[in-house]
Symmetry: C3
Subunit: 209 residues, 3 copies
């Protein structure tokens, strides 16, 4: 089985989606490095923000291409939505990086390290799902990547529960609690944004029947 083949112009959308998804994955990988090294400073925060701007440019290219192309590989509004969903993931990673710098949380604890791993894994699966969208014969595989993202979202949920429980047990300074609680919640919301993109991908598959 070869699956449904696309006409050349449509491939351009997948090229752009791949570029956008790879950029998201690259940001997630970089975030994990920063967390491991505990180096949230002006330079690293600025470098992450450049990745986020790069993502904006790709999102914009996809919008532009939509406006110039009549035939699209899937519904026009879904192309727009998926592109925006991917953009939301990198926005979330950029936001958490900025906040780590802002709060001067330069010594990420073991929970944040676990979150960073889950974020990277989740973005990696998302990148793989996007990469295989270009051929309908990959459908089962794309679905598996989406299920993996769902699974990682449950892991992130549990991490949030455990990290916040421990926070209230061990820390007595309310200001420290406020800061770390927000970081754990934002980390979990980042994985949520991956799941959101995965739901859009699943919805696109579902439409194809």
């Amino acid at each position: 089985m070869v699956g449904f083949r696309l006409i050349p112009k449509e491939y351009r959308f997948f090229d752009l989606f791949n570029k956008e998804a790879e950029n998201v994955y690259f940001a997630a990988k970089y975030f994990n490095e920063l967390v491991t090294a505990g180096s949230f400073n002006e330079d690293t925060v600025a470098k992450m923000h450049r990745l986020e701007r790069e993502g904006d440019i790709i999102t914009h290219e996809i919008s532009d291409m939509l406006n110039k192309t009549f035939i699209t590989p899937f519904d026009r509004e879904d192309i727009f939505l998926l592109s925006n969903n991917l953009d939301n993931v990198i926005d979330a990673i950029d936001a958490i990086t900025k906040r780590m710098g802002l709060y001067k949380l330069t010594t990420p604890d073991s929970y944040m390290k676990q979150f960073a791993v889950v974020i990277e894994q989740s973005c990696s699966a998302l990148c793989d799902a996007v990469k295989h969208l270009d051929n309908t014969k990959n459908r089962t595989r794309v679905d598996e990547y989406c299920l993996e993202i769902n699974r990682l979202e449950n892991v992130a949920d549990q991490l949030r529960e455990n990290s916040i429980a421990e926070l209230f047990e061990k820390v007595k300074d309310p200001i420290i609690i406020i800061k770390w609680k927000e970081m754990y919640e934002t980390a979990e919301a980042t994985v949520d944004s991956c799941e959101h993109a995965a739901k859009t991908i699943q919805s696109i598959l579902v439409k194809q029947g």
Copy 2:
């Protein structure tokens, strides 16, 4: 008037939606019982989580059926969306239950009791709306259930305002404030997730023109 009749296979979707919505309602009812009894312990939290897993299985069954069925009672992506919206409601109820246990808030105050009632009522209306989706002649009735959910969302909004106002007035310990504030906000967000599902239902009706 008999309304539009469906072919047998399509009924299976409604059976699954009913099963999913009833499970949501059952969880809401159980949450209300827990709040009334103030019994958030390992056993009750685990029992709620089993209901949430049950919901996941039904959501999965709906996805599977979508992949195997060509003709669907309404747009494929809306079936996927509504099923996910219902899943979000039970996820929210499960999350609030876990958090009550985590924070050891075993003596829910009068506001949480009122929230639990509103959550149960809202899930009950949602369950009724879903139950009547199988025949277009029930349209007005479905719409009324959705309006009732909108109304309850306003009630929850007001409860949130009042509960948080009183919290800041009466409590001076910031750590207690952080915990209860989050519970009130999460309770309100649970009712929001019901409204979200109701909006999807209304959007499905709107599409039918």
Copy 3:
């Protein structure tokens, strides 16, 4: 070029959308006035809530018209969605007004004043975008208003970063931190809700190809 002309009945939808968007803008303008004057009292909070109720009525009129009209200027579900998105903006403005009153934050600081300006600008651009939806020849212009809303959302993001950074630096009382942090976050979320409506508008344009 005259663009695509609409049939009379369809104009009614645009009249209602304009009415709804103008009401949103009016609320944003009023919020800015309240912030400038620092007058969040029972009367002003009640006046804002009346605007929010006015918005509910218009949303309801749009739903009613949808149920009575066969031919619509764009997809029925998008009319429903955009109307709900506009409603979410005024809900957010009403919520923040209530909360300012509740927390007795009658002396808004310079950050809240900047947020109020951005909210007003954002609602003004949203109102302009909606106003030009009635003729496809305005497409580029509508797109520009949406891009302006995206830009303002980035401004709001930065405001949130700066305001929260300064809050933790200058304030030592955790209860004051909790209150103002929530206000800044809610202000930013209000601009987010404008961006959400803008995305729906862009998605409608994208569908038209």
